[in-house]
Amino acid sequence: MMTNNMNSLNGAMASNISRRQLLKTLGAGGAALAGGSMFRPMSALAAGDLAFWATGTLDVGDAWSRAADDAGLNVAFTDNGNDPGPAVARLVAGNANDLFDIGGLQGGAEKELAVQGAIVPWDMSKIPNYENVWQWAKDIPYLQHDGKQYGLPAVINADSIIYRPDKLGKVDSYGVIFDPKLKGQVAMEDAWINSAVFAAMYLKESENQKIGNPGNLTEDELGLVMEFLIKHKKDGQFRTFWSGWEQGVQLVGDGEVLAMTGWEPIVYEGRKRGLQVEYAAPVEGYEGWGNNLVLLKGAVDRGLGDDAHKFANWLLDGFYGCALGEQRGYVVPSDRNVAYAEANASQFDPAKVKALAEHVKAKFSGKVAWQNTRPDNFQLYEEWWQKLRNA
């Protein structure tokens, strides 16, 4: 409490100074604005702050203070908007490296960011807790580049279909999304990184089309998949395409759609709101995804490399996994979560932590196609997506 007050006092003082400074500088003609480091934003003042820039789903709110107690790290969390594309743009062309130390991005862009020099490899000897990460999470195809580790799986899950069993009975195939009987009653996500994968999985597994890896389509496969989506769009199959959590929940919650591809926490939220919703276990399999920690080059330049490794190690240490599971139903792929809950049964219910872990593990025991924000033909994906939009 005391330190909090001190921080906000410091913040208030420093921001007053920076405001005065700004007026002075403007008065001097604005040319001296280059001394920009004077103007640090209010939230990022305390020395040794570690800035974590990630998807909002990774935020654990007040629980970040535990990183200070456990590892002496003051974590400042900033939401990057949950859209990996613009975040990558801000990393390679924009200013993200001046501001943030660690990124949390949907996996796939690691290679590109590494080639660009926006991120640097992790020194795995400084992250002992990586030992306990589940092997299949370590095997996510794009964590490494040039034999070095660029991405650490912080959160993983597998997605399928959210549906209304009271209207549809049991659903066990993506075919429901393309069923003409449900015209105008289904939706997909307004993002090719997910929707193209779902359609490809359906075509591969249930319509026996020649498709290799649904997460990384060749030019021909992509054409096939997208023509399929375009045809259904033209037929009026989709009520709309959704983007973002609140829109997805609203579509199901307000009865706009009976089935849609989407994220499992939407099901939990729907149930909390008293709706009868289920998450399908499709015969075609799930779309797996990892939200991975990347080490920004700027952190190392600022001398925060060691702190960043300490942070990554702390994240995989168990407490964070328990807190995130409790707050949002997402899973850190490590056995240490259960170990932590068992050792701290007054804080977290070990049975619940274990059940969540087993639930996710079970999803990954069958067929899984990995989501990939940067398939080899990613420029073509974008071009096809425009064709879909304008069909």
Partner: protein, 268 residues
């Protein structure tokens, strides 16, 4: 009542269109204010018996949203002040520029046609080059560029109320350029200045694309809202909007009452 508007059907038609305009802009915020008093998670109109302040109490704990709101208010205030000041200077210059007026108008207007995200990204590239770290000021700089053409046009529109004859008369009475400005022009264009300030403030408060590329570690409110809506929002976002809505009603009522009191004093 002004001559020409006496006909009843005409008046009815005008008021009807006004009512339609108000209905369109009030339906969404009023609906969400009602939703914000619903203790249920599912956004819907609450039954009267269920009305509760649950989400308003929860709001106090939403530090992310509150600090984003503070950041946005700071940026919007600075943007509005600077934009209104610069727009006033630009409009005064416009009056003096003679045959260059048209070109000057186009010049000031040009930045508003650049798509927001692209302006944000290219500015962030330039700021990066000169070593300026992103903070609230870089966001305000881009918002200034966005708001200035609006503020400028609004003030120009209101300049029509200033007749050359007024200024000539003042000049004949020996008023300097400065006195003409303060005693004649400014009082006449005051509504334009107020409108320019409000426009700039609102444009900044709701701006997303430019801010995305130029914020420091502290997100502005639209960015924070976007993040919340994308990754598991709770109804506190409606409570925040509801609070802002109610606060603006209070602020506006206060200003109106104050104006009325001043009126009464003047007329006594």
């Amino acid at each position: 009542m002004v001559a020409g508007f006496e006909s009843r059907p005409l008046k009815a038609a005008i008021w009807l269109m006004t009512a339609i305009g108000l209905a369109i802009i009030y339906l969404p915020p009023l609906y969400l204010v009602a939703v914000s008093f619903n203790p249920a998670l599912q956004p819907a109109l609450p039954p009267l018996s269920d009305i509760s302040l649950t989400w308003y109490f929860a709001l106090a704990k939403e530090r992310t949203l509150i600090s984003a709101l503070q950041e946005s208010l700071l940026v919007a205030t600075i943007t509005a002040l600077v934009a209104t000041g610069l727009a006033l200077l630009s409009a005064l210059a416009y009056m003096d520029l003679g045959k260059w007026r048209s070109r000057w108008f186009m010049f000031v207007l040009l930045p508003m046609f650049v798509p927001g995200i692209i302006q944000g990204l290219s500015l962030s590239v330039i700021f990066g080059r000169i070593g300026l770290k992103p903070f609230w000021g870089t966001v305000a700089a881009s918002h200034l560029l966005w708001a200035l053409p609006f503020a400028f046009t609004v003030i120009l529109t209101s300049m029509a109320a200033v007749r050359r004859s007024y200024l000539l008369a003042a000049s004949d009475l020996g008023a300097s350029w400065w006195r003409q400005l303060v005693d004649v022009t400014l009082p006449l264009i005051k509504p334009g200045l107020v409108a320019a300030f409000i426009f700039s403030f609102l444009l900044s408060l709701n701006e997303f694309g430019r801010a995305f590329y130029l914020v420091g570690r502290q997100n502005t409110l639209p960015l924070a809202m976007f993040g919340k809506m994308n990754s598991g929002a709770s109804p506190t976002i409606y409570a925040l909007s509801g609070s802002i809505f109610l606060a603006s009603i209070l602020a506006v009522s206060f200003v109106l009452l104050a104006a009325q009191a001043k009126d009464r004093k003047l007329h006594r």
